[in-house]
Symmetry: C2
Subunit: 486 residues, 2 copies
């Protein structure tokens, strides 16, 4: 059985045992069992020495007593009981496991020894496992969840390996809000057996995974990582937040997952060579995945900025240049077309500041311009319609209300159809159109926002965030040779 076949038992097991099953909410053995029992369709066996039933389901005193075969065991027992539990798994012929239990190499000394013992037992029995000291994993398409306390989540092409379970939750939560759908997630814990490189290999060939993101404190097999990444990034992007670049972070890493973190500059250069997109803030993992999923690959660094208000254009241009992109002059033909569309007060250059005129009609001329590889639309605030705000306040002129509501609806319908047309244009010209606008939570239920969210076109809150994400996309496009650096 090769690695890929083996890991399939982790993500698509036909039967799961929970060793350490419990009835007490808040305990891993209860919360994970609950997830397994309420989602997906597979055999689930609670293992508990003292109870014949857990969460209303027949429980077994040991995994050996389970009648059928067990593909995958979730182990939540205490550290002392772990070696015996793993021995039981070996005897039972379990293929894969996930060990929640902590207190091993991350605490040093005897913990590291105990961890080695468990690895040895598993190796002998041909069991591959996640953890120990991890916080679960998931595969949305199989409805398999062993990570409790998950935020809202939907299925999609992002797979995520995190060397921190807590940070993993933050990224999953931020990702959902930004519109990311996830395929697989692994909180890899101490990586005593399976480690980042193994998951990367699996996700690289996984058809449901379109973008791989990772939080990494250290690599066990740097060379293998770079070789794998160099291959995978040819067809799917890999975005990694690698920390431990300061002395202090490195020390914290060691006590967290016992990972060895390398020199930061070397890491940067190696990542670049392998086409890995490195980010340095947690939010960038999400921002970058979003732009990779929602946008076509640009063919160069030249960005047209389109805005209704000057300052937003200034911030966008500033950030684009700071991140290595260009804000070039527009072609004379484009200038002419914009002159015909806009009032005399527009900025007459790039950034295109319409001075309040509607900006949507400018999009096609900009995308058609040969000097333009991408468009960044910098909008201000998207709150409940100005019209509705108006409706709610004035005590007079109530006669106009019906008309106003009609206007609001008409504006919203027009926006949705403009969005459809924009997506059509992006496809036709194969150029990204990245949007920044601060979105009030009260409009997130609307059709327009939903459509943006569903298509990974969710707006960035500020122009500088949009510019940074676009710069990562250009970086990847240049690596692939789609964009030619200038």
């Amino acid at each position: 059985m090769n690695l890929i076949q083996h890991l399939d038992y982790l993500f698509n097991p036909r039967s799961v045992a929970v060793i350490g099953a419990s009835n007490i909410p808040g305990k891993w053995g209860c919360d994970i069992l609950n997830l397994l029992l309420t989602r997906g369709e597979r055999k689930v066996y609670p293992i508990n020495r003292n109870r014949s039933e857990v969460l209303g389901v027949k429980a077994y005193g040991s995994i050996g007593e389970v009648p059928g075969s067990v593909d995958f065991a979730v182990i939540t027992v205490s550290g002392e009981a772990l070696p015996a539990a793993m021995e039981d798994c070996v005897r039972k012929g379990v293929k894969t496991a996930l060990i929640i239990t902590g207190g091993f190499s991350e605490v040093g000394g005897g913990g590291a020894e105990a961890e080695r013992e468990v690895v040895e037992i598993a190796r002998r029995g041909g069991i591959r496992f996640i953890g120990p000291n991890c916080a679960g994993h998931l595969n949305t398409s199989a409805e398999l969840f062993t990570a409790p306390y998950l935020p809202s989540m939907r299925e999609g092409p992002v797979s995520f390996v995190s060397q921190s379970g807590n940070l993993g939750l933050v990224v999953l939560a931020m990702g959902y809000e930004a519109g990311l759908g996830f395929s697989k997630y692994i909180s890899s814990g101490n990586e005593a057996d399976l480690h980042f490189e193994d998951y990367l290999e699996y996700l690289g060939q996984d058809e449901k995974t379109g973008v791989i993101i990772g939080y990494v404190e250290g690599f066990r097999e740097s060379r293998r990582f770079l070789e794998l990444a160099g291959e995978i990034t040819r067809s799917k992007p890999v975005v990694i937040m690698k920390v431990g670049c300061t002395d202090c972070g490195a020390t914290a890493c060691r006590s967290h997952t016992a990972a060895l973190s390398g020199s930061d500059d070397i890491c940067d250069a190696a990542f670049r060579q392998a086409g890995v997109i490195r980010v340095d803030e947690v939010g960038d993992l999400v921002d970058t995945a979003l732009v990779l999923l929602g946008q076509p690959l640009p063919r160069g660094r030249r960005v047209a900025v389109l805005t209704v208000g000057g300052g937003l254009g200034v911030v966008a241009a500033d950030a684009l240049v700071r991140h290595g992109l260009e804000v070039p002059p527009l072609s004379p033909a484009t200038m002419e077309r914009l002159n015909a569309l806009l009032s005399g007060r527009w900025s007459r250059g790039n950034p295109v500041d319409t001075s309040g005129d509607i900006s949507y009609p400018c999009l096609a001329p900009l995308l058609e311009d040969e000097n333009v590889d991408a468009v960044l639309i910098a909008g201000p605030v998207w709150a409940p319609s100005g019209f509705s705000a108006f409706i709610s306040t004035p005590p007079w002129e109530r006669d106009n209300l019906a008309d106003l509501e009609k206007m609001v609806r008409a504006v919203e319908e027009e926006s949705v159809s403009n969005l459809d047309a924009t997506m059509e244009l992006m496809k036709r010209y194969q150029k990204p159109v990245v949007l920044s606008v601060w979105v009030d939570s009260r409009v997130k239920d609307g059709e327009l926002y939903r459509k943006l969210w569903d298509n990974c076109l969710t707006p960035y809150p500020t122009p500088d965030k949009a510019a940074k994400a676009l710069a990562r996309l250009v970086e990847y496009s240049e690596y692939l040779g789609v964009a030619t650096g200038s």
Copy 2:
């Protein structure tokens, strides 16, 4: 009448005229009039040549026909009609004005000339004005709003001058969400008459203003700005996002507000000398104001990181060091106290990773440690309680439900009382406690979040954001000599 007295008529006028008053929602002359009529208590006079009533209120054909005196005029008429409108204001003895109308120096050529003409008329008549090409202003304590399309807003100590009205709206919206209350806001437009430095001088002496934030594309009087700032920052912080630092941004600035932007490095050094906190991302304006309002000034750079999960601590430590702060070893006494509080699995160092143990009891020992100037608490995700999520799913064991709900309530009550105790500790030791946790919008109605929000202790979404904000606070504290740099 000195500048301060003059500007008082802008922020506390007893009577306002809207020249260009309109009945058509979406037009500035309608939306601003609506704001003035529905908020605050003062005389409001719509001026409209063709209507005897606007929004149900008696209108006047010209400002000259208004029976009483007029302190402040909002002018929304077209560019061609502007000089005559300003002449009318002079004849009427108006003290101050705000000109929404655009199409002046920001479009170059004849626009600049027309602008100079309006300035001349105003100067002759002793009128000081905001704009042209601006998007309004506000003073919450006077319930005066001339900026339509505002997001939610509450009164508070932040005052904000923005050389972009659209960017201003983004910052106001982000600020509200983060818990900032605003006192005054000015969209300063082209600054043909009153400019950034004038507003700064006013806000510097304004008792309701505790923190000044600004978005600046260029200064008209750099020297005066630095002198003023140097004085003001001794007693209240000034945070500025100064753009135009790249060639491209500088070009965009010129076409936006006709401001001249200076060399970036010089700007940086001058800001530092004057104690001005410079930020380079839009969101940092809000993040920095928040930490300045919610936290005491730290006496040094040494930060203890407290977390329930390793990766969050690693990210925090990494970001702290990247931003120039330190994550020092804890004193032996603190180590002993933490050993007594935490299970054997804690990290035994700084960052303090409790490995899942409740972290609140560690706060007092950390704040008492003489090696620690501030604490950064790095939490994961704050979503609807894990217990509630559990309640919603399992089909069995319903007997426990009442108990579970009691547990949820007990946890929430305990959290609120822990927060009270934490604020007490912060006050006693005069050390900042900055929190990072990703907050799901569904918990934002709860008592705990509300209390954090009300006290400017709103959590940062990720540890790196919290670290960056804390670094700004230390920077300011060092400038004031409260913190001693190391």
